[in-house]
């Protein structure tokens, strides 16, 4: 009699063991999920010294200020700036504070239908310029340091080009500036899909639609495997807490004002005007050669939203001679939440700023 190719007994034994383990895990998970969980995000204390419409400025003060020039962080309009202060030990803001950098960060708030006419110009030459002036006046200084993330980085590039005298040093992180690439799915879809009309019929671009689009970038991992992983670890309290914090951050996303969204899609994703220095804000051309201040540009090697090809051309187009391009071995979010990258990212910026702290 030939040997069977399948060891049925062993498979059945494994299934039985797995079922038993799952039963125990579910029992323990019930205790974990019913227990009080520490899932708060953005815990670092701050003050709000400036407000304009729905926009507010968060001010984080370090215990000992070691830098003359404060840093203003501008986050994207997609998702919220709380990602930079996700939890103790995984907080970009805290890391800056520990190094003695005074941090300001813009909270864009939650745009409603009444914000549908707000343009990129209103963000860059309106809110950002007013905030920069507020900080300059408060500190009695000519220039401040500026750091932009993703779409917020693109806004910083625009601002630095139009107001170079107000910026001491520019830090861009996962910032799309070259949109003429088919490397990221987002770039393909934004060119071919009529998203602006969809946004128009809602008033603004709804956050839920954007989030659904992001989930569709990798459905197998983001809609299935991620939750399988949660199920497998739901008896592990720290894992559950971290997971829930990320869930809270990911799905806490404001809508994007229609006029801003429409212009960003048309002028940036479809016409690629920013890198060509052909973008205009309220009739003023965004000339990249005007960016003469020191520039350090970070991007992720495995970033599927802003692939390296979309981020690594900026330094070649600016007027500054003091530039640095840094590619980190991580993805779009990993730069800010990965413990490993955290050890490299903030210290690098801090030392770079220190060398240019006038």
């Amino acid at each position: 009699m030939s040997k069977p190719t399948i060891d049925v007994d062993l498979i059945l034994k494994t299934v039985t063991e797995n079922t038993e383990r799952t039963k125990v895990r579910v029992q323990k998970a019930t205790e974990v999920l019913m227990d009080s969980l520490d899932v708060d995000i953005a815990q670092t204390p701050y003050e709000v010294p400036y407000k304009e419409d729905r926009v507010q400025l968060k001010h984080y003060r370090p215990e000992h200020i070691k830098y003359k020039t404060p840093l203003l962080i501008i986050y994207a309009l997609i998702n919220r700036e709380t990602m930079l202060d996700l939890q103790p030990g995984r907080s970009v803001v805290q890391s800056f504070l520990e190094r003695g950098i005074e941090v300001y960060m813009i909270d864009w708030g939650y745009p409603t239908r009444k914000d549908r006419f707000v343009t990129i110009d209103d963000h860059v030459n309106g809110y950002i310029d007013n905030i920069v002036d507020f900080i300059r006046n408060k500190h009695q200084i000519e220039k401040i340091n500026l750091m932009g993330i993703c779409m917020g980085g693109a806004f910083c590039v625009m601002y630095s080009s139009l107001h170079p005298k107000k910026i001491n040093a520019l830090v861009t992180s996962v910032t799309p500036t070259n949109f003429d690439t088919d490397k990221g799915l987002l770039h393909i879809w934004m060119k071919r899909l009529n998203m602006a009309d969809l946004a128009d019929c809602y008033g603004n671009m709804p956050a839920d639609v954007m989030n659904f689009g992001f989930l569709l970038l990798n459905p197998a991992r983001l809609m299935l495997d991620k939750y399988v992983s949660f199920f497998e670890n739901m008896d592990n309290k720290p894992f559950v807490e971290n997971f829930v914090r990320m869930e809270k951050w990911i799905f806490d996303s404001p809508d994007i004002p229609l006029a801003t969204f429409r212009q960003f899609i048309t002028d940036c994703y479809q016409k690629n005007l920013l890198i060509k220095s052909q973008l205009e804000l309220a009739g003023k051309r965004v000339e990249l050669k005007n960016i003469t201040m020191p520039l350090i540009n970070f991007y992720g090697k495995f970033d599927h939203l802003v692939p390296p090809e979309a981020a690594n051309q900026l330094v070649q187009h600016v007027g500054s001679t003091d530039t640095e391009d840094i590619c980190l071995s991580t993805g779009h979010i990993g730069i800010y939440v990965s413990s490993k990258i955290q050890k490299e990212f903030v210290p690098r910026i801090a030392s770079w700023l220190k060398e240019r702290d006038e």
Partner: protein, 292 residues
Amino acid sequence: MKQSDSDKNFNINMHEWMQSAFNVWKQMAQPGDQGKTQAETTFTGSKKTDQFFMSSLNMFQLACANMFTPENIDATIQKSDAITSATLEIMQHMTEGVMEMQNSWIERMVRIGKETKAYSFDDMDKEMFTTWKNIYEKEIQQFFQIPTLGLFRFYQERINVAIDKQNIFSEALSEFMYTLFVPVEKSAAVFQKELEEKIARGELSNNLKEYYNRWIRILEGHFMSLLKSEEYTEVLNRTISSYTQFKKAKDDVLTDFLQHIPVPTNKEMDELYKEIYELKQKVKSLQKSVNN
């Protein structure tokens, strides 16, 4: 001759039967005893409704009286034949459409057992969606495009457009959902083949997590191939566009209803927001020039 007498008798009887039928309904609708309540004396429970019912009945009787007079009854019966024929024709078209659809489904079911090409999305079965799209465009959509008449024509027209756009969106959504399911189908086929090979080699692992990890990797690979394909972008674009049109059409209908209740519509609010936005721009600009 005998046939002619029989027809004449039938026509006279038909006319008399119609008369008596109307009389029965009229008597039922007549006001009752004086001592009884309104609900007891009226036919429908409301005098106004009774009056409307009576006048409608009279109108209908007037129309029928002419149709069923002995001299017109032949023509009326012939016309009713024409209505029956038309109904049959419509039913025939609909049945043919359903049959066509069914055939497409049967053809597809037959193909289910055949091997699917891994990591390629150029063989997606669009036929069933094209079939339904054709049926809808040729046989159904015209009903929603019939010109509307009268005082409420614009309202009716907007409702028709909304129904039409909803149907088009539902069709696009079905195609989109099917497209998203294709990687699952293809992954199952690839995974099954791998399992068969492992079984043949006697290399089957007892670690279930290994199988899951392998399956999710295959699935991810298939999704990546799909998401980058032209076909997917086309389907996604169709779904988004049809949804946008449906939402706009639905909102137009809602706006019609909102106009009759004291609630501002989006259109009105947008006009107001625009004015506020422009005013704020002016104020901010003036404030800046004053501060400088």
